[in-house]
């Protein structure tokens, strides 16, 4: 309905503009503000209707993932226990997950290159599994969490120093359902 009015006003103003062309310049400034006002009103009217949830719903999975709501956690060499420094990260992750109850996600376990392909797949899976268990203990429903492992085939850094290895010994979070 509103759209029709806008289109009506627009065409009217265009008509006025064209007929006015060549006659007097003075008519223009009178018409323009009318259009502006209407547009502003429409925008104002729509904005309050969008809740936070609705904005979230409009985003794609890729957009949500790129916003980094869920922080990765790191592991010790050859180990799959959840470290102390990871616990606070997982606490924050769990809070976000609990307040966004529609989210479904995958925990992806990764390893550094100093392990065999076969063993690292199992090790990465153990890391993901322990992260899942910890999140569940913090109140995240288990049915929202899936786990997988990339072993050493998905490093984020190529280096051979300990700092690089540390970055690769991690569990990532990938949101797959919103």
């Amino acid at each position: 309905m509103k759209k029709l009015i806008i289109i009506g006003i627009l065409t009217l103003s265009l008509l006025v503009f064209f007929t006015a062309c060549g006659k007097k310049v003075k008519t223009e400034p009178v018409e323009k503000p009318v259009v502006k006002e209407v547009v502003e009103k429409v925008v104002k009217a729509e904005k309050p209707e969008l809740t936070e949830e609705e904005i979230f719903a409009k985003k794609s999975l890729d957009e949500i993932n790129s916003e980094g709501h869920l922080k990765e956690v790191y592991f010790d060499f050859d180990k799959y226990v959840v470290r102390e420094d990871a616990k606070s990260v997982l606490q924050a992750n769990s809070e976000w997950l609990i307040s966004h109850s529609s989210i479904g996600f995958v925990v992806e376990g990764n390893c550094d290159e100093r392990g065999t392909i076969e063993y690292n797949i199992a090790l990465g899976e153990k890391r993901a599994s322990n992260v899942k268990k910890y999140l569940v203990s913090l109140g995240v429903p288990a049915n929202r969490v899936k786990i997988t492992s990339y072993g050493k085939s998905k490093p984020v850094v190529k280096g051979v120093d300990e700092a690089s290895h540390q970055k690769n010994r991690r569990a990532d979070f990938r949101i797959v359902k919103k």
Binding site: T116, I117, E125, S149, S153
Partner: protein, 430 residues
Amino acid sequence: MKKIYFSMIVLIIFMLISTNLFSQKEVVIKLKDGVSHIPIAIPVFTLKNNSEKNSKYRDIIHKTVWDDLRYSRVFQLIPQEHYSYIQKFDQNNINFKDWSSIKANILITGNVEISEGDRIVFSIKVYDCNSEKFIFGRNFGGKPEFIRLISHRASDVILEYFGEKSYFTTKIVFVSKRDGNKEVYIMDYDGKRQRRITYNDYIELLPSWSRDNEKILYTSYRKNNPDLYMFHLYTGRTELLASRGANISADWHPEENKIVFSSTKDGNAEIYLRDMGTGKLKRLTFNRTIDTAPAWSPSGREISFTSERGGSPQIYIMDAEGTNIRRITREGSYHDSSAWSPDGTRLVYVSRIEYRFDLYVYNFKTDTTIKLTEDSGRNENPSWSPDGRHLIFASNRNGRYQLYSIDYDGRNLIKLTSRGENETPDWQKK
């Protein structure tokens, strides 16, 4: 095209089986590890209807046969330079005393002929220089595109005559990142004719051959999870075998229609047996720690695998039913990727010491272990040649991961790949 190729392979397999029946009795006489090699001479092959193209064919065949037989560790090849000390080779008038004088026991001659329709006919004749006798001769033929296959087949026949298991026509499956993504490739045993098999644009891992060499088992992340697939080489069909949890390291039973593999479907990495006829699964390990990388013994009665049950990844063996588990590796804190030698007497595995990975071979008979690779980066995923004298593996000794071949005693290291990064080779069992 595919049909021709397929029928050739069927023919070759048939020939392999039939010739192996013959050679079984002779195994005893010839060679064991450490026995001196048989000295052979292979003069340049003669060529009917000489032309530039034909002599090129002749040279390819000669070089391929030469390289095959040298690689075998069964023969000692008398260097070409020595042939100039004696009279020029004449097929119609062979002077065996000459060949004996340069220490050749066996003389292998060949003739290459390009018949009408651009068909290569390659004939070999094998002579005993001491008794000055013709031993046997054979003809091999095919289109020029099969020139390497023709050459390898001739090498196979020669090797088989001396009572050895032939493997020059076998292939290796592996993973390469050369096209930007980990995909499955196959190549000839000598690293030639490398070609891509999968086009998934996802990570593919740990491919292995079915026992009929017509299918490849591998893990793919095409659904964002390490699922186990089977690819049918001759139909292009792909079957999903296991998709719950991480599913890797499939190994086909030596005779029966079943595989073992590792899966985390029950919440922890365990070893499972899958009947390929019925699809039925049977769990073999029951342990809260990691159990992975299973490999059948050649008899099919035992399975080696990696387990963390003792606190760190070690190599264990169990009976095929999952019972009678015993630990093989005693020293060191990290072992994986075990594979049985074809005669079942040895087990190769990867051992990590100070972040270096090296290959070790454990001998069941002597209860001894030898180190195969030395101080050279990470050496991983070994696979035996069908005759047990060679192994192929991946190594980053020169920076990027490439495939290498090494002999059972750590000699004759050969680099087989150079494009991109290459890993996890699996050599056909026959």
